[in-house]
């Protein structure tokens, strides 16, 4: 048999009616006894705890810069754990066998051309144990052997030059998704190279990729000014560089491989340029006397694989996991603060309208009616677009529309409560309106508020994600709605990147589901009309 108790609050059957009995803090343990019977309520609280932990621990949990525009990897890389399904996938890492040039044997120095005696190279280790490679070009007046025709444009202008090289074994059968090379060098010039203004234009430092078929792909050439201090150059290889360097090592469908070996050579060299033959009508090669010494401290190659981080990378190459973790902060903050704000306004308006009634009530309820007929999402969009993208603005915009339901609820409860005997007696002994409202009426309508608040948070979280999905929130702040907007705007899943679509939405859903579960359970426990005995 289903029996419902009307208009009251959580009280035990035998003690009903007195206001003190129905105070929520008095019956807190009774409430908990009732609450824990609901499995989904417990689940909701556990999940909420998990999210709060995530939001608080975000700085520790995040592995990279959470800013949506911070590029830390190539776009749309799959999560690392997906590499289980793809054993041939490239793993991210440093691929140069000897990036710091500490090992003399790893670096082979090669001189070419008929004037190769002008060049010399040496590997040495300084007193701190750090290795360097020195390439020197010592020129005395006389003609160089010029390259007459170089259709590919990849080689230096002279046949004579010097370089050192390292070999990289490549066991994968895929192109890297991106390669960043770093070169650390210092240049010392003597003689005419140092004294003449155009001395720096007479030579260049080059970097090449040489595949095992012997094709050279130039990936870097230097420009003056040069410095005797060590300076580093960062070189981001483009697709053509990668295709030329790695493409030949990939077996095609018929099992053919263009390059004989799975090995790539990186060469770094020093060579005279065309200016040395003819510079504004003069012939530097016949006039210059002096030397150029280039010292290399580091040649490193960071290869990005097909997989990245815990949840892959976004369209802008930012780390999805870090954004996801920080997104918890945004959603929880906006959800809770906006609801707190709207609840506070709703409670005050509801109390005033319900308790005083009459003209005040009429006026406030007309405002509520007005806000209820205004379409909420369009209004939020308009306000967010006009008032700006700051987090505080978004909170206010969400709260502006969120308080109407609360105020109606409180008002109806207050109207039911205010004529009860305990209010009458409080008034009779001279209690002020404020005292009666906050000491007597409010505690009695509080329980009904809790379910309302938790459901309000769900609304606020969904509103925030909707607004950020439309791009109306701060673009520099990571948020789940924003991640989905980026995925949608850049064709995330059309690029096969399901992870940028699935995870942010899942986070929103689970968080609001947890709040919904808690709210529903509170409703079941605190709202006697729904409770079964």
């Amino acid at each position: 048999m289903v029996v419902h108790e009307h208009g009251g609050l959580i009280v035990s059957d035998s003690r009903k009616g007195g206001w003190k009995d129905s105070n929520w803090y008095v019956s807190l343990s009774g409430f908990w006894r009732e609450y824990r019977k609901h499995k989904i309520g417990i689940l909701g609280i556990l999940v909420l705890g998990f999210y709060v932990g995530m939001a608080l621990g975000a700085p520790i949990l995040a592995t990279h810069d959470p800013s949506p525009t911070a590029k830390v990897a190539p776009s749309f890389l799959a999560p690392s754990w997906m590499s289980i399904f793809d054993p041939t996938g490239v793993t991210t890492g440093e691929y140069m066998p000897d990036p710091l040039l500490n090992n003399a044997e790893a670096n082979t120095i090669v001189k070419t051309g008929s004037k190769s005696d002008e060049f010399s190279g040496v590997h040495y280790t300084d007193s701190d144990g750090e290795g360097y490679v020195n390439l020197t070009w010592d020129h005395s007046p006389g003609e160089m052997d010029w390259r007459l025709l170089d259709p590919s444009g990849q080689m230096p202008d002279t046949l004579s030059f010097i370089y050192f090289k390292q070999n990289i074994p490549w066991s994968f059968n895929k192109l890297p998704s991106d390669v960043n090379m770093t070169l650390e060098l210092s240049v010392t010039m003597t003689g005419d190279f140092a004294t003449r203004e155009e001395g720096g234009l007479m030579f260049k430092v080059y970097m090449w990729l040489i595949d095992s078929s012997g094709n050279w792909q130039r990936i870097y050439r230097s420009f003056p000014p040069y410095n005797e201090e060590f300076q580093s150059r960062r070189i981001d290889l483009n697709y053509f560089d990668m295709a030329a360097g790695w493409g030949g090592m990939i077996t095609d469908e018929s099992g053919n491989q263009e390059d004989p070996l799975d090995e790539l050579t990186v060469a770094v060299g020093l060579a005279p340029t065309d200016n040395f033959r003819n510079y504004l009508g003069s012939n530097p090669e016949n006039e210059y006397e002096g030397s150029v010494t280039v010292t290399f401290a580091r040649v490193s190659m960071l290869v990005y694989g097909n997989y990245f981080g815990i949840l892959g990378s976004t369209d802008k190459g930012a780390d999805a996991w870090s954004q996801l973790v920080y997104g918890a902060q945004v959603s929880l903050t906006i959800g809770v603060v906006a609801t707190a704000l709207s609840t506070a306004v709703g409670v005050v308006v509801g109390l005033i309208a319900g308790y005083f009634g009459g003209k005040v009530d009429e006026m406030l309820m007309r405002v509520v009616d007005f806000l209820l007929v205004i379409p909420s999402l369009p209004l939020m969009m308009v306000l967010a677009a006009f008032l700006g993208q700051a987090q505080e603005t978004i909170i206010v915009v969400i709260a502006i529309l969120g308080w109407t339901g609360t105020s109606r609820l409180i008002r109806s409860q207050v109207m039911a409560e205010k004529n009860k005997a305990y209010v009458e007696s409080a008034r009779a002994i001279g209690a002020s309106d404020t005292y009666i409202i906050f000491r007597h009426v409010l505690p009695n309508v509080t329980p009904i508020l809790f379910a309302n608040i938790t459901l309000g948070v769900v609304g606020a979280i969904l509103a925030e994600s909707g607004l950020s999905f439309l791009g109306l929130t701060d673009p520099s702040k990571p948020s789940w709605g924003r991640m989905l907007a980026d995925a949608q705007g850049t064709g995330g899943f059309s690029a096969g990147a399901w992870w940028v679509v699935v995870f942010p939405g899942m986070m929103i859903t689970i968080l609001s589901l947890a709040f919904t579960f808690v709210g529903h359970t509170l409703d079941q426990v605190l709202n006697p009309r729904l409770r079964e005995r």
């Binding site: 289903v2 419902h4 989904i40 009616d369 007005f370 007929v373 205004i374 379409p375 999402l377 369009p378 209004l379 969009m381 308009v382 306000l383 677009a385 006009f386 008032l387 769900v458 969904l462 994600s465 909707g466 999905f469 439309l470 791009g471 709605g481 989905l484 995925a487 949608q488 899943f493 059309s494 399901w498 679509v501 699935v502 942010p504 939405g505 929103i508 859903t509 609001s512 589901l513 709040f515 919904t516 579960f517 529903h520 009309r529 729904l530 079964e532």
Partner: protein, 349 residues
């Protein structure tokens, strides 16, 4: 107070609400001007254009869009007056961007929005009522608990994400896996190619309708599922509530079987508030679903209001906003009356 007086009172109230919305609308869309001092003239006409145009040509442009450069208080009063007159005569002005009357632009999109919102609402209402009644007969049962959990899950689900997931699965992965045997369009309302070909075809209307239906399926499912949770919970809670009333007890005491009690006595009474909710829903149909329409690139009002907002085409936003609010007020009014007509127990007052 009788029904007649009630209707008159509500009508007056409704009219006042409409006036309030119209006034609010005027100030809302001049917020950027009031708050940041951005004149719509600046948005509309670039400095370069201002320098290059003759005084007369500029004047004409201003008049065409109803703009006043550097307005003082009298200009504002004049603009407000003209705005009120225009709004009540249905003249919503010209779009800054397309240079066409706003009303034409809205009318071009209205059928699409009504189609999408109408079908999805009907689906979710029917499903919601049906399942709501099914589980309300036996609250607390396993069936009830799981249905409520599903409804709560839907309540917590961001609908635009559901739309993205549907697109990803049914418009990308499944077509890729089945060689396009099962496939749904990734975006849009109709394929331009189909439209061009069907124009000269005797059966063109059918082909176009089929193509639109094909585009409609995914957004309709997304919105239908999104609405379902609310209707279901509302129906269920209503019915459970009604089933505790005294007249149900009486009906049972008469010896009616449980089905008769549920459908004849319970459902009929529980449907009353449901009817008003449905009436309200249809008032908000025109509202469109900005997020879902954006995800599916649906050519409707919801997306139009957002797109116009982003490029600050505010005659359009203002007009749509206005129309939405007035329809909502009317729907509210009708729902109120309907409730009074359907439920004889209601006292007007």
């Amino acid at each position: 107070m009788g029904l007649r007086e009630y209707v008159i009172r509500r009508s007056i109230y409704m009219f006042l609400l409409i006036v309030a919305v119209v006034c609010f609308n005027f100030f809302l869309f001049r917020l950027p001007t009031f708050v940041f001092g951005v004149s719509p003239v600046d948005l509309m006409i670039s400095d370069e254009l201002k320098r290059n145009l003759t005084r007369d040509a500029l004047q004409q442009l201003y008049e065409r869009f109803g703009l006043v450069p550097d307005p003082d208080i009298f200009d504002w009063i004049y603009m407000f007056w003209r705005y009120i007159v225009n709004m009540f005569t249905g003249n919503f002005g010209i779009s800054f961007v397309s240079q066409k009357p706003v009303m034409d632009e809205i009318m071009a999109r209205l059928p699409n929005t009504l189609l999408l919102m109408g079908t999805s609402s009907i689906v979710s209402i029917i499903l919601g009522i049906w399942t709501g009644v099914k589980v309300a007969a036996d609250p607390g049962s396993r069936k009830d608990v799981s249905a409520v959990t599903v409804a709560l899950f839907i309540y917590a689900l961001p609908i635009f994400w559901l739309g993205m997931m549907l697109l990803m699965i049914f418009a990308f992965y499944i077509p890729a896996a089945t060689n396009d045997i099962i496939s749904f369009p990734l975006s849009g309302t109709i394929d331009y190619q189909v439209w061009v070909e069907a124009k000269n075809d005797p059966l063109g209307t059918l082909i176009i309708a089929g193509n639109i239906m094909h585009h409609l399926v995914l957004p309709m499912i997304a919105l239908g599922v999104g609405g379902y949770g609310g209707y279901f919970l509302y129906m269920r809670n209503n019915l459970i509530d009604v089933m505790t009333e005294d007249y149900i007890l009486t009906a049972r005491a008469k010896g009616l079987d449980e089905n008769q009690v549920l459908y004849k006595h319970g459902l009929k009474n529980a449907m009353l508030p449901m009817v008003t909710i449905i009436a309200m829903t249809f008032g908000f149909l025109i509202n469109g679903a900005t997020l879902t329409e954006t995800v599916f690139n649906w050519y409707g009002l919801g997306r139009y209001i957002f797109d116009s907002l982003v490029i600050l085409d505010y005659p359009v936003v203002q007009a749509i906003f206005m129309i939405i609010a007035i329809t909502a007020i009317l729907a509210n009014f009708i729902a109120d009356l309907l409730y009074g007509v359907l439920d004889p127990r209601i006292k007007y007052g």
